[in-house]
Symmetry: C2
Subunit: 194 residues, 2 copies
């Protein structure tokens, strides 16, 4: 049986899950060691900067995933309406209907926000801009597109908080469905794309 972790890139998804479960401060090197199957020596070999470098790598990985799977399609698709639908599906899947929290959102409410301010800010700004771009190309007026995009990102983050707080994934499902319907209605009302 091949080892699950053989190179740096294999460690990152495991780190992401550990940070999601325990938070940045709560994720001890012993826990990380157990979950990755690596000793401290190996961990510091891969991440000389320690836990901070691990978290930075995780944030970079998340950013890259959203950039290729969500933001770029939203910005560049010929069919912005399908791209918006695709975003809703991707997000529902990614957050497992609210069972999984958003690590970037959790970092935003934590003290570590100061350490990772740029990455946290970039993640949300890119999301909002990409969605606004799709809505505008789908025919929404620029102002409407921007406010709808912002409210959508807000609704997703808020739904993750509430679903977690109440330990009830139906909160997330209801919210994302209502958001999807609202975006669809706005695009229906908009003049057809030229």
């Amino acid at each position: 049986m091949a080892k699950i972790v053989v190179e740096r890139a294999d460690v990152i998804p495991v780190l992401a899950e550990v940070f999601r479960e325990y938070g940045f401060e709560g994720a001890s090197l012993s826990t990380i060691g157990e979950r990755t199957g690596l000793g401290k020596g190996s961990l510091y070999h891969f991440f000389p900067g320690g836990k901070e470098e691990m978290a930075a790598a995780v944030l970079h990985d998340i950013d890259h995933w959203f950039e290729t799977q969500v933001y770029r399609p939203l910005r560049e698709s010929d069919d912005p309406r399908s791209a918006v639908d695709g975003m809703v599906r991707a997000v529902t899947d990614y957050f497992q209907s609210g069972k999984r929290i958003c690590l970037v959102g959790a970092f935003a409410l934590d003290t570590v926000r100061d350490r990772f301010a740029t990455a946290v800010s970039r993640y949300f700004a890119a999301w909002r801009a990409a969605l606004a771009s799709a809505l505008e190309r789908a025919g929404c007026a620029p102002d409407l597109a921007r406010s709808l995009a912002e409210e959508t990102v807000i609704a997703i983050q808020g739904a993750l908080v509430l679903a977690r707080a109440l330990d009830d994934t139906t909160v997330f499902s209801r919210s994302i469905e209502s958001t999807r319907a609202r975006l669809a209605a706005a695009m229906d009302r908009a003049p057809p794309a030229r």
Copy 2:
């Protein structure tokens, strides 16, 4: 000059601010000691259960504030429309337009959620139920009242996350205003209260 902290009740608001700033794990007893002006001896005198009891006291205090200032007016006011307006004002003020985070929401995304699950869940469930009650008494159909209430709590929590992430209080201001307008419109559309 009288000491600022003279009894247990005076310590709690200070603890709340420290937990908001540093999170539960991040708030060390030394920090708490500095900010309250109390040594460990006094802190353990007031809170024999240590940090966990401090956080529980803070959550209880927050719950009490929302219960009297927000939930009860929403549930019991003769004028539910004004009560909803009052909630919007109270919340904007309380969260300082997004500069201040919601400690309960932050706990929900943290590992401490498990330790304080009941308090966290209670806070959000009570908020949602109280707002739904006001909307229904303002003439909204029960189903609409419940979904509007849930979406409002979601929007507030999401706006706090996004405002913090982007370090931009206008995000919160825009969101709360759009939420307020949406609630007002729903109550306008509803049949006048009997």
